[in-house]
């Protein structure tokens, strides 16, 4: 059987990973009209991914993917909302999705009905996101092989790089609604990760790694990624168990951002309305943390590679002050939660019948003029043992966001008298509310990471459980 392709008849061209917004709009309008649906919106996405993995000089897996997806929302005559998602962007797929959303709208929640964002046609911020042509999989393979070879050559104990990958992605997303809103964003990104495993005779294996992101493979800081993966892995080779007790801890920027991200329901209006946040409606204006801590959500920061220009409801991405001077200033909002709080949407929504809310990219900094806590914090050369928490694990299991507690395995070092020694295996436990008030200061320049911007963060009195 042979099928020929009339040009321009599909809403997505999987060969080029591009969406035809006008075609989508026309089809949705026709289908909605014939079904008697007056109000609808949709989010669509399409992407092409290419990635490689290597194993000791050999190509391990080469992977490509073309993906497309669409989520349609429909408001019925009672004003209730239904939703359906599909990867089938054909005309029949769209018709079935629209029909499914209409059926689901019969079960819409009358107490919490989303509407179109009032900002769905507001101007978008300009994002400097250069589009790169893909390098092609064989060139990616050569690049990753070379990176692996260099990393393996950094130390005799580094025997493998069991988790590695170099990937390129070209993607496009669209938001449309029945009153004429039309958002479209095209993006190219690339990523590299290298996680090395090292083992010395008679000792336990140790592992660490690094990640780099860019708008194209040519932009990736490959040398920096190799250096960081090697340095961190080698620094864990000499390890010892740690005694259980309470310690002053220094969180790396990555570790502290992970922790704040895991407890982001503190700032999430959806979680507040659902009663599963530690915050409540009256929390705005309350002192949650030490006065020198400020946290902003800023998806537009140039360090946020692959930033979205708009959220799932078409609201523009924009900076938002969450904590200033340790005081809670605002929540992250969708259209529905913003309406419930009497404020404007903040650009942090997904797309659904019950709209999810989430952060974009945190900026964790010292409150201007505060000095950032204790001046000259470097206590590494003092006699007091300090625990340096480099990376946290198992946040999905060890964080109880609605209770405020955490108990997490970590990789790090015990620093005593200026000497650092890797910790064999340990957990750190505490309560986020107590931790935010036990921060004694920041150290060093804030570092840009894939999840945000943050300096080293010193915290007193955390429980560490070790094997000594």
């Amino acid at each position: 059987m042979t099928i020929s392709t009339p040009a321009g008849s599909s809403s997505a061209d999987s060969a080029t990973s591009s969406l035809n917004a006008e075609h989508l709009r026309q089809r949705l309008e026709q289908l909605a009209s014939s079904a008697g649906i007056r109000q609808w919106d949709l989010g669509a996405a399409c992407s092409t991914d290419t990635s490689v993995q290597v194993d000791r000089g050999e190509a391990k897996q080469l992977k490509g993917a073309q993906r497309s997806s669409i989520t349609v929302r429909v408001w019925n005559d009672d004003g209730l909302v239904g939703v359906t998602s599909t990867s089938d962007l054909s005309d029949s797929g769209l018709a079935r999705a629209l029909s499914g959303a209409r059926d689901a709208s019969a079960y819409g929640n009358p107490d919490d009905t989303p509407a179109f964002s009032p900002l769905a046609t507001a101007p978008l911020a300009h994002l400097d996101q250069p589009l790169h042509e893909p390098r092609g999989i064989l060139q990616l393979l050569d690049t990753l092989r070379d990176a692996e070879r260099q990393l393996l050559g950094r130390h005799n104990a580094i025997g493998t790089v069991p988790y590695n990958g170099l990937a390129e992605r070209s993607s496009e997303r669209i938001y449309l609604n029945s009153t004429g809103a039309c958002r479209q964003q095209r993006l190219t990104t690339a990523s590299l990760y290298l996680y090395a495993r090292a083992e010395e005779t008679g000792r336990k294996p140790r592992s660490a790694g690094a990640v780099r992101l860019g708008y194209g493979a040519s932009e990736l800081d490959i040398a920096g990624c190799i250096d960081e993966a090697a340095e961190r892995t080698i620094a864990h080779l000499d390890y010892a168990p740690i005694e259980t007790g309470r310690y002053t801890c220094v969180f790396s920027p990555e570790a502290f951002l992970d922790l704040i991200g895991a407890f982001s329901s503190l700032f999430n209006a959806r979680a507040v309305l659902d009663g599963v946040s530690l915050s409540n409606r009256e929390s705005i204006g309350q002192q949650l943390a030490v006065p020198f801590l400020s946290i902003h959500d800023n998806g537009l920061h140039p360090g946020n590679i692959g930033a979205a220009a708009f959220d799932g409801e078409g609201t523009p991405t924009s900076p938002l002050a969450l904590l200033e001077g340790g005081v809670l200033r605002s929540f992250l909002h969708s259209e529905a939660t913003a309406r419930a709080f009497g404020v404007a949407p903040t650009g942090h929504a997904g797309l659904g019948a019950k709209v999810s809310v989430g952060p974009d990219w945190f900026e964790i900094t010292a409150t201007p003029g505060s000095g950032g806590g204790q001046a000259g914090l470097d206590r590494f050369n003092a006699g007091e043992p300090i625990v340096w928490i480099d990376s946290l694990s198992a946040l999905h299991a060890g964080v109880k966001a609605s209770q405020g507690s955490f108990s997490l395995p970590f990789d790090g070092w015990l620093v005593r008298g200026g000497e650092a020694r890797s910790i064999e295996a340990a957990t750190v436990a505490g309560d986020i509310r107590s931790l935010l008030k036990a921060i004694v200061g920041f150290e060093g320049e804030a570092k840009v990471t894939p999840d945000g911007l943050c300096p080293l963060v010193w915290v007193e009195g955390l429980s560490i459980t070790g094997e000594a």
Partner: protein, 484 residues
């Protein structure tokens, strides 16, 4: 070039999809496989998938979210020596599949060659495991019935719980039809139906808070939600929340622990199961790679991975590479017997396939993954285990866990109790257990006689898949208990 004016490619593809997958796909698949072999590939595999998902969320007395979703796609994998290229696409038209094949071939430096002879002998007769499952989706509860059942659940929580700040019930139904064809002749079709229902509460009283949830899941049982005992589930959740609301945080240290049956099996899943997948042998990240025939665990431990138990979340009629699952004894009386292996694992490590090639969807290449994995029952009673501990921790309910590239594992304890002088005393919370497989497996010294399984989700190299964990009550002589 002649264009067909009547149909777009996707529309035409959907026309052939209207009847689902089956033998009518043979000509198209044989063409693809023959082309791949003619290009020089050692083996070509095509995985086709159609899905139909329904998610429903109830909060307090309201249905707050209904999320239907459906989709389709293909994953094409090409092997050349020990390498493989994998491409996935949503486009099931003939042109779309050919484009995906060409891309996969190109990854390995191959290209289509219409002049070359193909070494493909055709597909075997279709093994149709789906033939008896044609009505499964229709037999599942419709949306209206599902919403009623969930609201029964949140109402039961309200009746049975105290200090409940939030009550949630959720239901997920995942229907999947797959067709697997490979150039070694493999040709199989299956339908999978996974349903799960869960209840969660957040209890709060002043500064005391406790979040407790339970989830129950089955495979291949369309009536599952109808048979769900909402009252019993609500009673279990509310009892746990009531206990944990006022529990103290656990004191940290090295302790003997007794882990309850059912989801306690997460310890074996994380501490050892993942390290017995051939993907870990390939990466060089398992300490057990050369240990077949040697003791790696206490003699009390026999561990099994299988895909056969009726209704269990990790059961399947064929794996995602078209092979029927086996009952694989991994460890017998402490001695390592076998690894869990898929097609690539067999190719690269020499461990024979076990029907364990699994993937979340067509966007992932299959990998060696666990199915229903459990420690076998032993001779003791649960009370024997608790009575043998002077001071330790009883882990009644476990949360999730993970294992890292050096074999260090961790998992959270949702509901714990101190053991003092051989008896359970006060409840404790906030514990995380960490350890290393090589050290912990020899310390599982006692197994009770009450083996039970529990449904779970496992995320790894080939995505998130449905699995079962399980065990009887077991005792670990010493493990690091992280706490405050």
């Amino acid at each position: 070039m002649i264009a067909t004016p009547s149909a777009s490619p996707s529309t035409a593809a959907n026309a052939s999809l209207a009847d689902g997958f089956g033998d009518h796909w043979r000509p198209r698949l044989e063409t693809l496989l023959a082309d791949g072999r003619a290009a020089g590939a050692d083996l070509v595999e095509v995985f086709l998938e159609r899905t139909d998902h329904l998610g429903v969320l109830a909060e307090q007395e309201r249905i707050t979210s209904v999320t239907p979703a459906f989709g389709m796609g293909a994953g094409i994998r090409v092997f050349l020596a020990h390498r493989d290229g994998f491409v996935s696409t949503n486009d099931l038209s003939e042109a779309g599949l050919q484009r995906a094949l060409e891309q996969a071939l190109g990854m390995l430096g191959l290209q289509r060659n219409s002049q070359a002879a193909s070494l493909f002998d055709g597909l075997t007769p279709l093994r149709d495991f789906a033939a008896t499952k044609a009505d499964w989706l229709q037999r599942c509860p419709m949306l209206q019935e599902a919403t009623v059942r969930l609201l029964d659940g949140t109402a039961a929580l309200q009746r049975r719980g105290r200090h409940l700040q939030a009550r949630r019930g959720s239901y997920a139904r995942d229907w999947q039809e797959v067709l697997v064809a490979a150039s070694d002749g493999t040709f199989g079709r299956d339908v999978r139906l996974h349903q799960s229902v869960g209840l969660n509460v957040l209890a709060a009283d002043g500064d005391n808070r406790a979040g407790v949830g339970r989830r129950y899941g089955t495979e291949g049982r369309p009536d599952d939600l109808r048979q769900w005992d909402a009252e019993a589930s609500a009673a279990e959740v509310c009892e746990s929340a009531g206990t944990m609301l006022y529990a103290d945080y656990v004191e940290a240290g090295q302790l003997p622990v007794v882990l309850a049956n059912r989801f306690g099996g997460v310890i074996f899943h994380e501490a050892c199961g993942h390290l017995l997948e051939t993907t870990q042998v390939e990466r060089g990240t398992t300490p057990f790679a050369e240990k077949v025939g040697e003791p790696i665990a206490h003699a009390a431990v026999t561990a099994i991975d299988e895909g056969l138990t009726g209704g269990a979340f990790g059961s399947l009629s064929m794996d995602d590479e078209g092979m029927e699952p086996q009952r694989t004894v991994l460890i017998e009386n402490g001695v390592l017997q076998r690894f869990i292996s898929d097609r690539a694992g067999e190719l690269r490590t020499g461990h024979a396939r076990t029907g364990s090639g699994r993937r979340q969807s067509h966007t992932f290449a299959a990998a060696s993954r666990m199915r229903n994995t459990y420690i076998a029952a032993g001779p003791h009673t649960p009370d024997d285990l608790i009575a043998s501990v002077d001071k330790g921790l009883y882990c009644k309910s476990m949360g999730g866990g993970s294992v890292g590239p050096t074999g260090q594992f961790n998992f959270a304890v949702e509901e714990g109790y101190l053991i003092e002088n051989g008896k359970l005393t006060k409840p404790v919370k906030g514990a995380t257990l960490i350890g290393e497989a090589k050290e912990v497996m020899p310390r599982i010294s006692m197994c009770a006689n009450d083996l039970e399984l529990a449904a779970g989700f496992c995320g790894s190299v080939s995505g998130s898949i449905f699995v079962t964990v399980g065990q009887p009550h077991i005792k670990v002589d010493s493990i690091t208990v992280g706490g405050r």
